[in-house]
């Protein structure tokens, strides 16, 4: 057990969740006679859940500052609908329509941010209002009718990476390249961390644990590279997955390596102390809310792209899935605690549960019950492990 801990190195809490996710996948795979771990299933799982995970990225920051955003689903639906209307009714080029959707997101965020940061209205109330307003607005402008989306958007919602290069690899070479880059980047960071730990007074993890860790993670990345790359010809690691991956890296850096990210944790951890340290609390609130709504617009675009049309009910109760992902990922309700990577693990747990239960033929009703229980258990587990409940809020 001690050895295992050494290999895992960092926080137990986070790895418990990763192990739980791995166990879920394996158990579902066995029960469903191997239908879980197939190329097409995982491609679908990723492109079908990318939008929720995108929302969870922003929601993590909102929850870390000690707030909540209930309006994300409505804003996503509204932005997606405006985009489809702009392209379909006003004949705007698809990229202009996308831009319009993003601007809508930014404006919605500024609205939420204004009430929260400048007027001091609690985020719960502010965004509850926005949730109703934007839901109403979607139905209003669409007259409850779905609007077809431009074909180009399908690429973002359900597209695949291009095919190229030699065929002897037996898989999609774009995916292969992505996987190799992933492995190399991971090795570089691990070695850098290992070298830095030498300068830390005291505890230095033995080299063998680093090597074992690299081996395990590389194997996992390698396996998924093969899984995503070896599907039906023309398929690969899906485009929504690529977009998600880029956003995850971006937001991991923002939260862990920038002043703004530090301010987010500082405000969530102790607002008064942050203010006395020169953090502009109101600006931090504003930008976090604005960022959330922009990500909502991105989620709306991805969803519309995948479903080829914008519907009046798009985005209904997405906020709940996003919030659940963040809390399963170990964030604290009181704020100040939680990480992007742990949130992604939390979101994947939800996605795999959905997918696995569907493969087993469990109905949506029972799936809902099980998801609720999982959320409750994960948070309960967290509360009783308070000491390790910090997630992995440590920087590299």
């Amino acid at each position: 057990m001690q050895r295992i801990k050494q290999i895992l190195g960092a926080d137990l809490r986070q790895y418990t969740m990763v192990l739980a996710l791995a166990a879920l996948i394996i158990v579902f795979n066995i029960i469903s006679d191997g239908r879980m771990l197939t190329s097409s299933n995982f491609q679908n799982l990723l492109s079908g859940n990318a939008y929720v995970l995108v929302l969870a990225l922003g929601m993590l920051m909102v929850i870390v500052i000690g707030q909540i955003d209930l309006s994300v689903g409505s804003v996503a639906g509204f932005a997606g609908m405006v985009m489809a209307k702009a392209a379909h009714d006003l004949n705007m080029p698809w990229y202009v329509a996308v831009l319009v959707a993003l601007v809508i997101g930014a404006l919605a965020g500024a609205w939420n941010g204004f009430f929260l940061a400048k007027l001091g209205i609690p985020g719960f109330i502010t965004t509850l209002g926005s949730m109703m307003m934007f839901r109403g607005a979607v139905i209003w402008i669409s007259r409850s009718i779905s609007v077809p989306a431009p074909d180009e958007l399908r690429f973002f919602g359900a597209g695949y990476l291009p095919e190229w290069g030699p065929a002897f690899t037996g898989m999609n070479n774009s995916t292969l390249l992505l996987g190799l880059i992933g492995i190399i980047v991971f090795i570089v960071f691990e070695m850098k961390k290992y070298r830095q730990s030498a300068s830390l007074s005291g505890d230095r993890a033995p080299l063998w644990t680093v090597i074992v860790r690299i081996a395990i993670i590389s194997a996992v990345i390698g396996y998924f590279t093969w899984l995503f790359g070896s599907g039906r010809v023309g398929t690969s690691f899906p485009i929504p997955g690529v977009i998600l991956l880029i956003l995850v890296i971006l937001y991991h850096i923002i939260t862990q390596k920038t002043m703004f990210g530090r301010h987010v944790y500082a405000v969530g951890g102790n607002k008064s102390a942050a203010a006395l340290s020169g953090v502009n609390v109101s600006k931090t609130y504003f930008l976090t809310m604005m960022n959330m709504s922009m990500l909502s617009a991105v989620a709306g675009i991805l969803f519309v792209g995948r479903s080829t049309a914008a519907g009046p009910a798009d985005g209904t109760s997405w906020e709940m899935d996003a919030i659940a992902s963040v809390f399963i990922g170990g964030a604290a309700v009181s704020g100040g605690v939680g990480t992007i990577l742990a949130t992604m693990v939390g979101g994947m747990v939800m996605a795999v549960l959905n997918n696995g239960l569907m493969l087993m033929g469990v109905g949506a009703d029972k799936t809902q019950v099980i998801k609720g229980l999982v959320l409750l258990l994960a948070v309960t587990f967290d509360v009783y492990n308070k000491r390790s409940g910090r997630g992995s809020a440590k920087s590299k």
Partner: protein, 511 residues
């Protein structure tokens, strides 16, 4: 019918907390129908004594004997002491702002009929009670619509509703303006006539002198003096002498200062209380600090020391009503904490856990948190730089920790304070404001903090140290300002000052 002239006798009261003897053989005797004042420095044990009396510390957790109204009192909780006729009005008001006067007065003692609250009866009694304390208000008025002075009177009315015989007022006028204070003192005289004995804890010697029939002075958990006085003719100097009569042993490191130019100057600084309209917490405060000089601010709790410092630090507290700040001869306007930090001011708050630290953070994140720009390169935080800076400051300030990745919540008070100091030294300030820098840390750690303060002054920084411990100020700083009710009441060289001369200016006697 009662022949015993004493309503209260507390004999040999000793109360120990782990490691500290808060009260040691304290005696307090209070005559019937009198106003008895208790004086003492912050932390002398006054509040502890009142908590023993009112049952906050139940019978059995202290030694000694309490005779109240000819019966031995063995209160297990506040409820029992209230039933016996003791009521305590705390420094911080304890009413619920969103409820009416009636609801607050009968909170916990509701008058019911058939299980439902009898509002008519409650209202009728409230009007009577308000009349007794000289208020003519609608009993349905919400507490939040009352001024602080009126709220205090309602608190007293609440006490009267419980047939109080002994009313304890803990610094009742500390939050009141002059009119309200005078009003309250008059009310106390009236209560005395109506057979209610009052115990008043106060720092304001002029008020004590005005109304007391007897004075007891407590110092370091002992009764040092207790005597009867004639209201209006009280020897205030005698009280001061007994309040501070303690010698300074060498708990303070040696140091020699050589102050340079004046680098920090505040003139006519005025700040209004954000909660009580019209109450000024800083009144035309002016002071200066030289480079390499340590300047102390002496004042009792609530005198406005923290308010002054926080409002200077980027107007972090109160409503700014005027005044100028000059740094190195140049006038600056500091409208945000960020601006204050940029102009070389650092403020170490008195409440370490709530204002100084994010207890979720590690040492390394805390040290750099007030100046992240310093470790930012090309928009990203440089974790190597962060690590080496954090380790360096921990070494310089001798923080005891396994490594800088441990959480600050695992550190002792003294080490936490060193981390907070590191955080502010990291901003490379010219002016360092330390608000009660040694509160709640042990003697050894205090000595280290003093040494660090001296080192900083030696580096040419202007250091401002706010403290309510006079020996500490006298032992550490070069020059002392005294502050009372928002005004700077005196300026003394530490070498020429003693506790008596300071205390005199901190309490403002009527003489």
């Amino acid at each position: 019918m009662n022949e015993n002239p004493l309503i209260l006798e507390m004999r040999g009261i000793t109360k120990e907390f782990p490691g500290v003897k808060a009260l040691d053989d304290v005696t307090l005797t209070v005559a019937r129908d009198s106003i008895h004042s208790i004086c003492g420095e912050n932390g002398a044990g006054k509040s502890t004594l009142m908590k023993v009396l009112s049952g906050v510390y139940p019978y059995g957790t202290y030694d000694g004997k309490i005779l109240f109204d000819d019966k031995e009192a063995k209160f297990k909780n506040i409820k029992e002491s209230e039933q016996a006729g003791i009521a305590i009005i705390h420094q911080e008001l304890t009413m619920i702002p969103e409820l009416s006067i009636t609801e607050n007065i009968f909170m916990g003692n509701e008058i019911t009929r058939n299980g439902l609250i009898d509002w008519n009866e409650e209202r009728k009694r409230t009007v009577d009670l308000l009349d007794k304390v000289g208020l003519s208000l609608n009993p349905d008025t919400l507490i939040k619509h009352l001024g602080v002075g009126q709220q205090q009177l309602v608190e007293i009315a609440k006490a009267l509703s419980k047939n109080v015989k002994l009313l304890i007022l803990d610094e009742p006028t500390s939050a009141l303006n002059e009119d309200d204070s005078a009003n309250l003192l008059n009310l106390m005289r009236g209560l005395k006539k109506n057979g209610i004995t009052c115990i008043m804890i106060s720092h304001k010697l002029n008020e004590i002198a005005a109304i007391s029939d007897a004075v007891t002075v407590i110092r370091d958990g002992h009764t040092v003096d207790s005597y009867e006085v004639v209201a209006g003719a009280v020897d205030e100097n005698k009280i001061i002498r007994s309040m501070v009569g303690r010698s300074i042993d060498n708990r303070y490191p040696e140091h020699e200062s050589n102050p340079g130019e004046v680098i920090f100057e505040v003139s006519d600084w005025c700040v209004e209380d954000p909660e009580v309209e019209g109450r000024m917490v800083c009144k035309n405060s002016s002071f200066y600090v030289r480079a390499g000089e340590i300047v102390g601010f002496a004042g009792l709790m609530g005198a406005g020391r923290t308010e002054l410092m926080r409002s200077i630090f980027g107007k972090n507290y109160g409503i700014y009503r005027g005044g100028k700040i000059r740094i190195k001869g140049k006038e600056v306007t500091l409208n945000s904490v960020e601006a204050a930090i940029k102009n070389g001011i650092a403020y170490v708050p008195e409440d370490r856990k709530n204002l100084g630290l994010n207890l979720l953070d590690t040492i390394r994140k805390t040290v750099v948190s007030a100046d992240l720009k310093k470790i930012t390169s090309r928009g990203l935080l440089d974790s190597d730089m962060e690590l080496s800076e954090a380790e360096e400051y921990c070494k310089t300030l001798r923080v005891k920790c396994a490594n800088v990745d441990v959480g600050v919540n695992t550190l002792s008070g003294g080490n936490q304070q060193k981390v907070v100091l590191s955080k502010w030294l990291f901003t490379e300030p010219d002016v360092l404001i330390l608000d009660e820098p040694t509160r709640g840390i042990d003697v050894g750690a205090k000595y280290e903090i003093y040494k660090i303060i001296h080192e900083l002054a030696a580096q040419g920084k202007a250091v401002i140290m706010v403290s309510s411990e006079l020996p500490e100020l006298l032992g550490v700083v070069d020059r002392i300002y005294t502050i009372f009710e928002g005004s700077i009441t005196g300026e003394l060289m530490a070498s020429e000052a003693d506790q008596e001369s300071l205390m005199k200016r901190m309490t403002v006697t009527s003489g």
